[in-house]
């Protein structure tokens, strides 16, 4: 298995925010993690990434145990992180924001997963135009593209993407969606947290629905389509 999360438990103080989450992602798959706010979707990504410390469980990535490892080790293992609210470095230029993502500072051309600046600019033409601008001066859509590009520069085989379309205009939402699809075609697996069902369903191969702190449904997009009850319980009003 490519990424295997098993029985993951995370606490915020006394609050048991992840209560035994299990999910997996296969190679070159896009998996969407859906559910209403406050269910623990972002926390799941953060717990994998080491941004919050999980209490118990198992996280295996490409055969290596990354449970409870600090973020830089998880990143080195080949996982890229595109956080909620993008967290662009505001006082760095676009190009520096990208370059800082390169492991060790030099693009390893021999790695088939490696991304060069040229490749990034090819996928994100809007960034090329803005390459010398400060991160703080970008629009929301550009920041989102930059956050994805920055993660790609680390040559990840898996991307954790948290709410990439939040707060973006519809046309930009489509662009972000298409970029994620393109990246996946180039061989990057994606674990996606997304509240925009349209985006999620059109991208994902498989879907997990989260209820409070737990996984309530697993299936393919087709299976979710055929299951109005699950949709009603976990997504709709």
């Amino acid at each position: 298995m490519f990424l295997e999360i098993k029985d993951l438990n995370t606490y915020y103080g006394p609050s048991h925010v992840l209560q035994g989450i299990s999910l997996n992602v296969e190679q070159e798959e896009i998996v969407a993690l859906l559910g209403r706010n406050g269910m623990g979707k972002s926390t799941t990504l953060k717990s994998v990434m080491g941004m919050v410390k999980p209490k118990s469980g198992k996280v295996i990535f490409q055969g290596a145990n990354i449970f409870g490892k600090p973020p830089h080790k998880v990143s080195m293992a080949g996982i890229g992180y595109v956080p909620e609210e993008r967290r662009i470095f505001p006082n760095l230029t676009v190009e520096d924001n990208l370059k800082i993502g390169v492991k060790g500072g030099v693009v390893d051309e021999s790695n088939p997963k490696a991304w060069t600046l040229e490749k990034i600019y090819e996928v994100f033409p809007s960034l090329k135009k803005r390459r010398d601008n400060k991160g703080a001066n970008l629009s929301g859509g550009e920041q989102q593209m930059l956050a994805i590009g920055r993660a790609l520069m680390g040559a990840p085989s898996l991307l954790l993407v948290d709410e990439p379309t939040e707060g973006l205009a519809p046309i930009i939402v489509d662009a972000v969606r298409d970029v994620l699809e393109e990246i996946n075609k180039r061989g990057v697996s994606i674990l996606l947290v997304e509240h925009n069902l349209e985006v999620a369903m059109s991208l994902a191969h498989r879907v997990y629905l989260m209820g409070k702190a737990h996984i309530g449904f697993v299936g393919t997009v087709q299976e979710l389509d055929d299951n109005p009850q699950a949709r009603a319980q976990y997504l709709e009003v």
């Binding site: 973020p71 830089h72 998880v74 990143s75 967290r87 470095f89 760095l92 924001n97 370059k99 680390g154």
Partner: protein, 293 residues
């Protein structure tokens, strides 16, 4: 040049010398605060410690230049030790700022008392190396070469710092970490190691300032007092973590000091604190700061 103008120029250069020294001390303090949220109260003590090391190295080797290299390095080593084994441990306790402040305060006390124990309470003279002795005449103005040397040395280090910060990958990491260290570590960068490095470099810079100041101010146990307090003012007023703020405020304080002594000698030392109280009252985050802690 009229004597009055000459006096002003001399005073301005005086201010610049002190401002540059101050910046050497304050920049490390600022970077450490910006990245780690730690206000290191022992920072100026490292400045003093290095001055004592300088005195000792000169006493042993008779070479100021040797001291300029060895003293800051020795100080830096101690700084790295403090970060790695003391600060990191305290940070795990979740005492908030009180823990950091009190630990570094304790270290400052130990250094202050330690130098008294080892070198005594009297002042020690470090002689200016012969090559930097004497006066130089610039545009009809006589000026001590050594002070110009300090300005030059500080400018060189500043340029090196600016180069590292703005032209190298390491600098990129540091600048990014000032705004969001967690995110930097999610890109595969070992932040604890970067912290240690910055702490070490900051200490070394304070150490260089200490060596440079030694022949000018003489080496005595109260050496760290004024520059230490001024450096805190720089960090606080410049805006916790803003390097640009630190440059501006350091140079400003240098001149404020120099001209304050000229015009209102009695109140000159008060001005700095008055200035800080004023700024904090109206801008609790300092001039260039956004950090909310």
């Amino acid at each position: 040049m009229s004597p009055v103008t000459a006096m002003y120029v001399a005073q301005a250069i005086h201010g610049l010398t002190y401002g540059m020294l101050l910046f050497l001390v304050a920049s490390g303090l600022t970077l450490i605060f910006g990245m780690m949220g730690i206000l290191n109260l022992a920072h100026a003590s490292f400045f003093m410690l290095s001055a004592y090391f300088c005195y000792q190295v000169v006493a042993w080797t008779d070479s100021f230049w040797m001291a300029l290299i060895l003293a800051p390095l020795g100080t830096g080593l101690i700084g790295v030790f403090v970060e790695r084994f003391l600060l990191r441990k305290v940070q795990q306790y979740n005492l908030g700022h009180i823990g950091d402040l009190l630990l570094t305060l304790g270290i400052a006390l130990v250094i202050a008392e330690g130098v008294k124990t080892i070198w005594g309470t009297e002042s020690h003279q470090v002689v200016i190396p012969p090559s930097l002795e004497g006066l130089v005449s610039v545009a009809g103005l006589e000026y001590p070469i050594y002070r110009l040397f300090i300005i030059g040395l500080a400018a060189a280090i500043l340029s090196a710092l600016a180069f590292i910060l703005y032209k190298t990958r390491l600098g990129m990491i540091i600048r990014a970490a000032v705004s969001d260290a967690d995110m930097v570590s999610a890109l595969g960068i070992n932040m604890p190691r970067v912290f240690m490095f910055v702490f070490g470099v900051g200490t070394i810079m304070a150490g260089v300032a200490g060596v440079a100041a030694a022949p000018m101010l003489t080496v005595f146990p109260g050496l760290a007092d004024q520059i230490g307090l001024d450096a805190f003012v720089v960090v606080v007023v410049g805006g916790f973590g803003s390097l640009f703020g630190a440059v501006v405020v350091s140079l400003f304080l240098g001149e404020l000091n120099a001209f304050g002594i000229q015009f209102i000698p009695r109140l000159a030392p008060v001005l700095v604190f008055l200035f800080m109280a004023l700024v904090l009252s109206f801008k609790p985050m300092g001039f260039f700061g956004e950090r909310d802690d």
